[in-house]
């Protein structure tokens, strides 16, 4: 498939890059990425991947747009309040680039549906806001041998890492298990600065584009943290899997997925 004249112009700033070129752009157009969560992280990821011409993008989220989302979830607008987030994000993405096919999954992702869902995609982006789903995404991606980008944001802090099967530790190698129930403040109590979603989500989009085009070095075996108060990034080297991880170790104790109890702030009040 050759790039047409409109595509050559649209993606010219990619094509000019030695590391991407027309070949890399074609890889992007042929790629399939699934974004789980159409909120703070999922919005910038979706917009940048659509702009980049990632050919097929899946978006999964069960929620509808709420007024309190608009401070950080930049693909949704005031007129979208009440609309399913996946629909609102899809419309924003398609408005940027009609080259892109957006598949929407307006449902909760759980142990019963996640494996079949991720199977169709090359790369998964975790844009969720709770530990239960983060562990579920990790375990499902390990089982299905899918690479994924993890990220989390809270207050003025953000972090991300990338898992590539067989190349480095998984999320569970690093964080072991769900934190005790009241150890981490809930999102509603703690707050988050809106631009944090943009910073970390954009970094996830960067990891995704680099993975697809085979460019540079990914955050495999490294956790990148960002502190917005001090404007400082830190890269933490992660130990490789010690073989004892409950999901990606030599003798995994987790052999089937289960749904963890959602922390209180995730409950519908």
């Amino acid at each position: 498939m050759a790039l047409n004249d409109e595509q050559i112009e649209r993606y010219s700033r990619h094509i000019l890059l030695k590391e991407i070129g027309a070949k890399g752009q074609k890889k992007l157009l042929n790629a399939k990425v699934l974004i789980i969560g159409a909120g703070g992280l999922g919005c910038p990821v979706g917009l940048y991947l659509a702009a980049a011409g990632v050919g097929t993008i899946g978006v999964a989220d069960a929620d509808t747009v709420d007024l309190s989302n608009l401070q950080r979830q930049i693909a949704h607008s005031t007129a979208d309040i009440g609309k399913p987030k996946v629909q609102s994000l899809k419309e924003s993405m398609e408005a940027i680039n009609s080259d892109v096919t957006v598949n929407t999954y307006e449902k909760f992702i759980d142990s019963s549906n996640i494996r079949a869902l991720i199977r169709d995609y090359d790369f998964i982006v975790d844009g969720t806001d709770n530990f239960a789903t983060k562990f579920l995404i990790n375990d499902a991606c390990v089982m299905e041998k899918k690479p994924f980008s993890h990220a989390g944001i809270l207050r003025f802090q953000g972090q991300l890492m990338t898992y590539i099967p067989g190349q480095g530790p998984c999320y569970r190698c690093v964080f072991k298990d769900m934190p005790p129930k009241d150890a981490i403040p809930t999102c509603r109590q703690a707050g988050v600065i809106g631009a944090m979603a943009g910073v970390i989500g954009s970094l996830q989009a960067m990891e995704t584009v680099k993975f697809i085009t085979g460019t540079g070095k990914l955050l495999v075996g490294e956790l990148l943290t960002y502190d917005g108060i001090n404007q400082s990034f830190r890269k933490i080297k992660l130990p490789p899997c010690d073989g004892k991880c409950a999901i990606c170790g030599e003798h995994p104790s987790i052999t089937e997925l289960k749904d963890y109890e959602q922390p209180a702030c995730e409950l519908k009040l």
Binding site: A2, I8, L16, G21
Partner: protein, 82 residues
């Protein structure tokens, strides 16, 4: 002599402006195999200053660059690398 170089592919970018001159050249060059030769017809001024230089920066081999009677230039470049 430049006239004796046999090109595998030929493009005319005299209707384009920067940066699309180099973008188009790159797109066509990407389709070629290592060692194949692309012939490019380009305008004087900015294109003739920038396109050969950008090609060299990406590691390709500029074989010749000659001015034509009509003021355009003809560039032969050999693809280096994948």
């Amino acid at each position: 002599m430049a006239e004796e170089i046999k090109a595998d592919e030929k493009i005319d970018i005299t209707n384009l402006v920067c940066p699309n001159t180099f973008v188009k050249t790159k797109v066509v060059l990407d389709e070629l195999d290592e060692g194949q030769i692309l012939e490019v017809r380009l305008n004087g001024g900015e294109p003739v200053q920038n396109v050969p230089r950008s090609l060299k920066e990406e590691g390709h081999k500029v074989l010749s660059l000659n001015e034509n009677d009509d003021g355009t230039f003809t560039l032969f470049v050999e693809k280096v690398g994948d």
